[in-house]
Subunit: 211 residues, 2 copies
Amino acid sequence: MSTASSKQPAKDRHQEILDAAARVITERGLAETRISDIAEQAGVSPGLILYYFDSKDRLLSEALTYANDQFYLRTSREIRRIPSARDQLRRLIDLSVPGYLAEFGRLDEWALWIEVWVRALRDPEMAKDREVLDQRWRAQIADIVRGGQASGEFGSSADPEELALRIASLIDGLAIQVIMDDAEVTTERMHRTCMEVASQLLAFEPEPAAR
Amino acid sequence: MSTASSKQPAKDRHQEILDAAARVITERGLAETRISDIAEQAGVSPGLILYYFDSKDRLLSEALTYANDQFYLRTSREIRRIPSARDQLRRLIDLSVPGYLAEFGRLDEWALWIEVWVRALRDPEMAKDREVLDQRWRAQIADIVRGGQASGEFGSSADPEELALRIASLIDGLAIQVIMDDAEVTTERMHRTCMEVASQLLAFEPEPAAR
DNA sequence: TCAGCGATTGAACGGCCAGTCAAGCCGAGG
DNA sequence: CCTCGGCTTGACTGGCCGTTCAATCGCTGA
């Protein structure tokens, strides 16, 4: 009902359902997500959900992977278009800081990430997906680092993979606090901290405009 | 049966149950934890659990807070005894890197933390507890930083709170990957990375022995 | 010895929800 | 116009657990 497209096409039910599931999980949390919620969100009957997916469990795992995949694709497509490595990194940080671009509410992709983590601890399938997703995330940063080192934008010549790990981990750790609405770790502070640490680790000027 | 003390004393049932709950949650995960599991672990009947706690939900939240509290107390007590700030930090890192001290299995305190995060996203009570716990964690690091700055062990004179945030976030982010058994982020690598970044941020020599 | 009372038990209840299924819907192709 | 087959429905079921409760236990103090 809410998302339903023009009924006729019903393009890809499979994907529609994944979208609906991701939306429901984001707002209610994995634990409070019922099949009927997803059905309602997708504008179909509960029975249909199980017609397309073998079980609720499988659906939830797929939905989580799918959503994070989407985020990655969106981000990487956008970043590839930016010529300067420094600007690429800046944009990556903009996109990673929860609430910074205000395209979503407080609960954005990061909320899903946490659900992925919990699930991955016990579900080997999810664990595998998570690892792939995470390696891609680090690789994306490592690529930017390599680019900047090659172009001379970044002064550091340290191992790009190690630098990527450090930056990625810092972002992860900070994002958690921000998403939790921690009074001491605001959106703005996280952004500032990320930029400062990155410029320190990679050896570039945080502010490009001035001078 | 498993944990039950000498039956007679039955010191503090309340606490015994919290302990049992934390243990069950650690090994099965919040989602798979039943009241009967906790009862079994504590060696009592399911009915008794609800005699001491108003509801399963309340019990779970309390157990999570309790467990993290225990970890903090244990850690801080141990660290306070160490004279050198550099050694304090080293010890803190030792204790924070999952699996480094091999006192626990792969699933240790960090697994509980992730459960706390998921819960805190929707449960205001849990959110409040989490914030307190987290601030304390950062404050503990900030104290070490201040100590090292005062004694001259650390060369950096930057804001201790900001340094603590950076170190804490890095540890959080890395610990997640380690606990997930990520092939690229091993226990040893996390430890090395933490020590290197810390020594860089705080300006001290990572290896004290040599020279 | 016994009454009284908190602690403890475990059987039973009731609600909830994943998953099933028999029955309709509807477009395509003949 | 009819038939076939995939899509869709929603009522139903079976099991699972949180929670309740009446009954028992066993200590303590008189």
